[in-house]
């Protein structure tokens, strides 16, 4: 199957999914207890303001009509404006997203640097103390509550040792060195969790390839063990690991909510939390919609990567 056809098929499946996602996100505002217009008008319940809001957000129309109006705007790139400061939500998103992307890249680098070597070594040394230790560390990375790990790292590196700033963010174009020092701790926090996932999957994939016939053949030809592990087994084990990496990257983009909160990093997650606290529902809907869109997109990318990396799929 050619690549274009494969992508077209996957996208065709995505359209109904994304439609339902948008319906779910639209329905969120119907969960608001009582009258949405009253909730939006704030504490005073000024009848004039309530009526204005009701007309502005078409709350006097039936729900399907409201959805159609909302969706029409979303498709034209209009996600409404923040109730708090009247800035368009898309503008806010455009400002916050690069910060979160930088954090996600930093976390991913740490995860790959730890997770993949640990997975390869522990598979090659299966059943040894090294394997058991690596598994235990990976499980710890998966189990530790990240916001607590963040607090503990702040306590150690910022409060006790004073090596790194406790919180805040400096954009890379202002001061690259300070940017890296502000992004390091949160990247470690997020990276450890992903490293655990990567390690376990790399180990599993390696165990499978190490048991394959072509590895046995290589060993029978007395290819050095180092080469067997790194060339024959590792290269083939990388296919599922790459796919997983793309999916995990999508999770990082939306999974940084608490980490950004703790380190006061003005990204996507902090925008969501601020939106929640300011009862700024357009912002909340915007963040959820965009994070779902990104997640779907990265999953599609993972599928395409898998397709490209696996010649057997192209034949069928």
């Amino acid at each position: 199957m050619p690549l274009a056809l494969y992508i077209a098929r996957r996208v065709a499946v995505l359209v109904p999914t994304l439609f339902l996602v948008s319906v779910l996100i639209f329905s969120l505002q119907k969960l608001l207890p009582g009258d949405a217009a009253l909730a939006l008008a704030g504490e005073e319940h000024d009848p004039v303001a309530v009526a204005a809001i009701r007309a502005k957000y078409h709350l006097d129309r039936p729900a399907p009509v409201q959805y159609a109006i909302w969706m029409g705007k979303v498709l034209r790139g209009d996600l409404g404006e923040s109730l708090r400061n009247r800035i368009p939500v898309t503008e806010l998103l455009a400002a916050k997203l690069p910060v979160t992307v930088e954090l996600a890249i930093g976390s991913m680098l740490i995860a790959l640097a730890i997770g993949i070597p640990a997975g390869v070594i522990s598979a090659a040394r299966r059943g040894t103390v090294i394997d058991a230790t690596a598994n235990l560390v990976a499980l710890s990375g998966l189990s530790v509550p990240h916001f607590w790990l963040g607090i503990m790292l702040i306590l150690l590196f910022a409060v006790r040792l004073g090596w790194l700033p406790a919180s805040g963010y400096v954009p890379p174009w202002e001061d690259l060195r300070r940017n890296l020092t502000t992004i390091l701790l949160p990247s470690i926090v997020l990276g450890t969790g992903v490293a655990g996932v990567m390690m376990r999957h790399t180990r599993g994939a390696m165990l499978e390839t190490l048991g394959a016939d072509y590895v046995r053949t290589a060993r029978a030809k007395s290819v050095p063990e180092r080469l067997v592990v790194l060339k024959h087994a590792f290269r083939n084990a990388l296919i599922p690991v790459i796919t997983l990496g793309a999916i995990e990257f999508g999770r990082l983009l939306s999974g940084a909510v608490l980490t950004e909160q703790i380190f006061a990093i003005p990204g996507f997650g902090k925008m969501l939390v601020d939106g929640v606290f300011n009862r700024d529902y357009a912002v909340v809907q915007g963040v959820v919609l965009v994070s779902a869109g990104l997640y779907v997109l990265l999953n599609l990318m993972a599928d395409v990567l898998y397709f490209l990396a696996n010649p057997r799929l192209r034949g069928s």
């Binding site: 916001f147 503990m152 909510v257 939106g275 959820v288």
Partner: protein, 291 residues
């Protein structure tokens, strides 16, 4: 939730039940983890009995006291005993672990069975909605739902349950679908069992092992999610204790009173790790390919 795919693979072949518990407990690591989980449940259930102080009673003469013989784990920013709050906080975590998983199981078992056995447009509809829910990341769903429902422990549990639902539904439906092609199900149909009887007596019991594994892993994820929501102020409301909300308060006094931050997170870490080990142990014991 990332283990869902692995769980789907954990297959559905009939297992000899009496040996399951023994198989899990034979491994020393799994045994230790099980004991930790049991201890956690006992501590949570017997909170009034174990706690040395009233967890919400403030004492302005004992603000931010370091751990000592009087207050074993110190006191917090309004003089409440940290140990007592930890013990009572276990209740919020236990509830947050159990209730969402129960919701997810109660919804996904019948719906998954229906979807997997009946097929057709109903299956298509259920699966498309599941896909849509899976497209929104777990914690984002939970935060958005909790925000729109309003902050309380009950709403947080409801939000976590709904967020966990699509993974369960997909697993239940996939398992049911795989089972319908198994020989013992086909032979039951050939013997003239009604569709309902086949579904309830033959398919349903065999759906349980993979859902059991998923449940133990989801209890762990739900405990972290509750702590996260409470940390953000969307879960347990003050002054009632929860490990997540204790961490929120603790962050403000990090340099003066680090012990307030240390213990709640450590408790979450230990309990979640134990639950994950139990989940892994269950998977190893139930998956015929690993055995």
């Amino acid at each position: 939730m990332s283990d869902a795919a692995a769980v789907t693979d954990a297959i559905v072949a009939p297992t000899r039940r009496p040996h399951l518990v023994r198989r899990v407990l034979r491994r020393p690591v799994a045994l230790t983890a099980t004991l930790v989980v049991v201890a956690f449940v006992v501590i949570a259930l017997g909170a009034p009995y174990w706690a040395p102080y009233d967890p919400i009673k403030t004492d302005y003469r004992a603000i931010r006291k370091a751990p000592s013989a009087v207050h074993l784990l110190g006191t917090d920013e309004v003089g409440r005993d940290v140990l007592s709050r930890l013990i009572w906080g276990a209740r919020a975590s236990l509830l947050a672990g159990a209730v969402p998983v129960t919701i997810a199981l109660l919804v996904s078992l019948p719906l998954g069975l229906l979807s997997g056995c009946a097929g057709g447009w109903l299956d298509g509809l259920i699966m498309r909605v599941t896909d849509a829910m899976l497209a929104i990341p777990f914690l984002i769903v939970a935060i958005a739902l909790a925000a729109f429902l309003g902050p309380s422990l009950i709403n947080a549990m409801l939000a976590i349950g709904i967020a966990a639902l699509p993974t369960f539904l997909r697993l239940a439906r996939g398992t049911a679908l795989a089972l319908t092609t198994e020989e013992f199900v086909v032979s039951a149909q050939a013997l003239g069992c009604s569709r309902l009887r086949v579904a309830v007596r033959h398919v349903l019991p065999n759906m349980l092992p993979p859902l059991l594994i998923q449940s133990s892993l989801t209890v762990a994820a739900a405990i972290i999610a509750e702590a996260s929501l409470s940390f953000l102020g969307l879960g347990q409301q003050p002054p009632a204790p929860s490990w997540g909300s204790m961490l929120n308060a603790a962050q403000r006094y990090l340099s003066q009173a680090p012990w307030i931050a240390l213990y709640p997170g450590l408790m979450i870490f230990i309990v979640v790790m134990a639950l994950n080990v139990v989940g892994d142990g269950l998977r190893d014991a139930l998956d015929p390919r690993v055995r």
